[in-house]
Amino acid sequence: MNPANFFALIGIVLFSIGLLGLIINSHLLRKILAINIMGSGVFLVLVALARRTENMPADPVPHAMVITGIVVAISATALALTLMLRVASETGHATLPDEVEE
C-alpha cells in the first residue's frame, strides 16, 4: 500500500468516527466538533489522493479545493457556535430535544 492510499483510508476512518459522534451525541457542541472531524477526514482524503503515484508532481486542484474547504468550514463552525449559544440562551440548554413530545 502506498502512502497516499494509507492516508486516504485514515481520512475515511476519521470521517466515520465523526459521523458516529454526530449521530450518538445530543449536545450541540459535540455535534459541531463531530462535523469538524468529518470535514478533516474529507480534507485528508483529498490531500492524499492529489498525489497517488510517487514520482509525479501533486495535482494542485484538490489542494486548492482543500484550502477553500477549510475556510468554508471555519465560517460554518463560527456560525454554528453562535447558533448554539443562541439556542442555549433561549432554552437554557445546548441540546436538541431527545424525544418527540406528544
Binding site: 494542485p60 486548492a64 484550502i67 475556510v71 468554508v72 456560525l79 449559544l85
Partner: protein, 241 residues
C-alpha cells in the same frame, strides 16, 4: 438492553459497512489522470505566479476564491444578525498573556506579510496569511483589547468589504476589457494577483477575528445607554404591575 445500546448495536454495522465501502472506493480508483495537472503546469507561465496551488486559486479557478470570500462575509452577516450580546471580559488579562500579546502581535504581522509574498512561488498566500493575521486579532481580543468605538462602524465595514469588493471590481474589469470573467491579461496577471491577495488578506483576517468575537461590535457608550434605557423601561413596567 436499553435504547442507547440497541441504537449503537444497530448503528455500528451500518457505519462499518459505509467505511468499508468508502475504503474500497478509494483503493479501486483508476490511475491518476494526467490531464488537469498537466494543464496547470503547461499554463503556469501565463498565470503570473509560479506556485501551482496559488495559480489555481487566484487565476485558473479565481471564481471559486471570489465566492469563498463572499461565504466568509455571509457567515459574519449571519452571526451578527443573531444579535447575541458580546462576551464581556471584565477580568484584567493575565500578565503573561498581556506581555505575550505585545511581543507576538508584531511578529505575527510580519509573518502575515511574509506568507502573503511567498505565496507567489511557494506554499502560502492570502488565506494562510489572513489566518495568521486573524490569530493575532484573536490574541488581542483575548488580551482584552478592543478597537476604538470610532472604528467599529463604517471603517470596520469598509475593511471587511474591501477584499470581495476589489476582487469583484477586477472581475468586472476583466469581463469588460478581456471579454471573460477573471481572465487576467498575461502581462499584468502577477500584479493583479498581488493586489487581490493583499486586500483579501486584510479582509480575511478582520472577518475571522470578528467571527471569533461572535457579536456585532457596538460602540460601548451606545450599548450601555441602550441597556440603561431597557433597564429603566423594565423597572417602569414593574411599577405598573
Amino acid at each position: 438492553m436499553n435504547r442507547k445500546t440497541l441504537l449503537l448495536v444497530l448503528l455500528l454495522p451500518l457505519l462499518l459497512t459505509l467505511t468499508a465501502g468508502l475504503g474500497y472506493a478509494v483503493l479501486s480508483l483508476p490511475e491518476q489522470p494526467q490531464y488537469l495537472p498537466k494543464l496547470v503546469i503547461d499554463n503556469i507561465n501565463e498565470s503570473g505566479v509560479s506556485h501551482p496551488v496559488t495559480a489555481v486559486l487566484l487565476n485558473f479557478r479565481g471564481y471559486d476564491t471570489l465566492l469563498e470570500l463572499v461565504v466568509l462575509l455571509l457567515a459574519l452577516l449571519a452571526v451578527w444578525s443573531l444579535n447575541m450580546p458580546a462576551a464581556e471580559d471584565k477580568t484584567s488579562p493575565n500578565l503573561v498573556l498581556d506581555i505575550l500579546t505585545r511581543l507576538l502581535t508584531p511578529v505575527l504581522i510580519l509573518v502575515t506579510a511574509y506568507l502573503l509574498w511567498i505565496g507567489a512561488h511557494a506554499p502560502g498566500g492570502a488565506f494562510q496569511a489572513g489566518s495568521v493575521l486573524a490569530a493575532s486579532g484573536v490574541l488581542l481580543l483575548l488580551g482584552g483589547y478592543r478597537i476604538s468605538d470610532k472604528l467599529t462602524g463604517l471603517p470596520l465595514r469598509i475593511i471587511l468589504m474591501a477584499g470581495p469588493s476589489v476582487f469583484i471590481l477586477i472581475a468586472v474589469l476583466t469581463l469588460l476589457l478581456e471579454g471573460q470573467l477573471l481572465k487576467y491579461p498575461t502581462a499584468q496577471a502577477g500584479l493583479l494577483i498581488v493586489i487581490i491577495e493583499t486586500v483579501a488578506t486584510i479582509s480575511i483576517g478582520a472577518t475571522l477575528a470578528a467571527l471569533f468575537l461572535g457579536a456585532r461590535p457596538i460602540a460601548t457608550n451606545r450599548a450601555t445607554a441602550s441597556e440603561k434605557n431597557m433597564d429603566q423601561g423594565s423597572e417602569k413596567d414593574g411599577e405598573h404591575k
